[in-house]
């Protein structure tokens, strides 16, 4: 029999319908592969030991009603899952078992999908390499000496190494797109409000968004159809109707206008990465896509806006880890000392740095100069994007300035690490949807371009990404693990 881990969602479901194989066989194929390959990759923090039973108990009568019936998936260990540990890759939540389920994983399961396990991340999703996990370093499937990107590095590596068919990530400043790029897969950050954040451990609530990651563009479209839509438990989730994204997969991109963000193609961008993206642009031109350059000077300030607003929200969101109701507790006779010791011991360096920075930009005397200024700049950035989208259907740029870097390379200098998100970060303060689309290789390392769409226009991303994927000679290339 053909290796079942090579099949996409549509192929698996066709096979199920014809009775060629069962969900149990598919889950077994994935578990065997995980056992064999994950010791080298270290994508998973924990496995769902109930998954075989769950596969067995799927009701065959529901296959036509459940859009993800029998589809194996992995979730970043930031999604709360009932009866299965959720750690956020932090020592402060080492043994935490959530008493409720995130809306997104709940919708996946209700659609018939099977959770294989929880994947590694930078602690509380703070990082760009997954090296800031308190538990393990995940390796890039294309080169084990390199990082998979982050913070959804485990989710990206699991999909790239075929240890899951699809996975769920979260993206606050690039945490889906940058690891997708580093691992050579497709990853989409939807519009802010498209997908419910309920039950996803919060980093920066006005920027966080959940999204799908997969080897094929089509699979992400099918997952997004399931996880999108209003949720009364997330006050910022949108009531806008959810389009059938998969209907846009075979639609020609002819006549679409794409703007090339001038500021994203200047110094700082690796020349080989630039070349690979230019080749991709030529491919799309032949399909009838119209390109022209557009300047968005505000994006140059994206990182600065982000590194004021995000820590401010982090300092407030992480205040809940006080060692009283759950999590690590260093019990002491005074309340204050208990807080300080529990948090001092439970949080890693990056979390501490962002909490401190957030406390600073929000403190009396500095809030105007930093936080309010950055919120004004955020308005200007969002307005500029909206103005530009009057003339363009999509915007295009690189996802990452470089191919994946070496493990350990950027750990000593936080600013160096932050700069690897320079092209992804500006999208989040504006709340726009954006995806990383694999387009080629530099020295056998994956390279991607990024597509940015107007609010709630994810279908345009699917339309162009899918058209490109069909013409990309590298689309079926596999890492040699």
């Amino acid at each position: 029999m053909k290796d079942l881990t090579l099949l996409n969602i549509r192929e698996l479901q066709n096979g199920y319908l014809k009775g060629n194989f069962s969900p149990l066989e598919v889950i077994r194929a994935y578990l065997e592969r995980i056992q064999k390959i994950d010791p080298k990759i270290k994508a998973y923090l924990s496995l769902n030991d109930q998954v075989l039973g769950e596969a067995k108990s799927l009701d065959p009568k529901k296959i036509k009603r459940q859009p993800l019936w029998g589809i194996p998936f992995a979730a970043k260990d930031l999604y709360l899952t009932k009866n299965l540990k959720t750690t956020a890759a932090s020592k402060i939540l080492e043994n935490f078992i959530a008493p409720y389920e995130s809306t997104v994983t709940k919708r996946m399961k209700e659609a018939g999908a099977l959770l294989l396990g929880k994947t590694n991340l930078d602690e509380f999703a703070m990082g760009s390499s997954t090296e800031r996990s308190a538990y393990q370093v995940t390796h890039n499937p294309w080169d084990l000496t390199r990082v998979p990107g982050g913070s959804s590095g485990g989710s990206a590596a699991a999909v790239a190494a075929r240890l899951a068919l699809v996975s769920l990530g979260t993206d606050t400043g690039g945490s889906i797109r940058q690891p997708a790029s580093f691992c050579g897969i497709f990853g989409l950050k939807p519009t802010y409000g498209r997908v419910s954040r309920y039950g996803i451990i919060a980093m920066a609530s006005s920027l966080d968004q959940a999204g799908p990651m997969s080897r094929s563009v089509e699979d992400s479209a099918r997952v997004l159809e399931v996880i999108s839509g209003f949720d009364a438990n997330d006050a910022t989730s949108s009531k806008k109707e959810v389009p059938q994204y998969s209907e846009f997969l075979n639609k020609s991109p002819k006549g679409l206008k794409i703007g090339l963000i001038k500021e994203f193609f200047t110094e700082g961008l690796d020349q080989e990465v630039k070349k690979a993206i230019q080749i991709a642009i030529e491919v799309l031109k032949k399909e009838g896509v119209e390109f022209s350059e557009v300047s968005i000077p505000e994006v140059k300030f994206g990182l600065s806006i982000y590194y004021i607003l995000m820590p401010a929200e982090v300092s407030s969101n992480l205040a809940r880890y006080d060692g009283m109701r759950y999590g690590l507790n260093e019990y002491y006779d005074s309340l204050l000392k208990t807080y300080q010791l529990s948090r001092g011991k439970g949080f890693g360096d990056e979390a501490k740095r962002r909490i401190m920075l957030g406390s600073f930009v929000l403190s009396a005397g500095y809030i105007e100069a930093y936080y309010i200024l950055a919120q004004r700049a955020r308005t200007a950035l969002k307005k500029k994007f909206e103005e530009v989208f009057k003339n363009f259907d999509l915007l295009l740029g690189p996802t990452s300035p470089t191919p994946p870097f070496k493990i350990g390379e950027k750990m000593e200098d936080p600013l160096k690490m932050y700069l690897s998100d320079v092209y992804t970060v500006p999208v989040n303060p504006a709340g726009l949807p954006a995806a990383s689309v694999p387009c080629g290789f530099v020295n056998n390392l994956p390279v991607s371009f990024q597509l940015i769409a107007p609010h709630f226009k994810e279908e345009k991303i699917f339309q162009v990404a899918s058209a490109f994927e069909k013409l990309n000679p590298n689309a079926t290339k596999e890492p040699n693990i």
């Binding site: 590194y307 205040a319 999590g327 019990y331 006779d333 309340l335 300080q340 948090r343 955020r378």
Partner: protein, 97 residues
């Protein structure tokens, strides 16, 4: 805007943040935060005085009826408590301190 942060300010921020930091951590924090503040000071160049601070315009004052949407499993919550007594979380004394 500042481009440096002093070790005294780090002490104060650690207090506000409820973080116990070692001397080594404080020294590294002083340097890292100064570097980051120096980097973000470029925001001064953006001419945004006339802009309003950001808001999600369509998402202000969202409220709903106070109806029960979720069945909370209180034992599931209490099980996570580092210290408990019967159906209570046990916490350090805060009065008389």
């Amino acid at each position: 805007m500042k481009d440096k942060i002093t070790s005294k300010e780090i002490e104060h921020l650690a207090q506000l943040s409820r973080l116990d930091l070692s001397e080594k951590e404080k020294a590294k924090m002083t340097k890292d935060l100064s570097d980051i503040l120096d980097f973000v000071s470029e925001l001064k160049e953006m001419k945004v005085e006339k802009e309003k601070p950001f808001l999600f315009e369509d998402q202000i004052n969202i409220s709903r009826e106070g109806e029960k949407l979720i069945d909370y499993d209180s034992e599931g919550y209490l099980k996570q408590a580092p210290k408990r007594e019967r159906q209570f979380f046990k916490v350090p004394r805060i009065l008389n301190q």
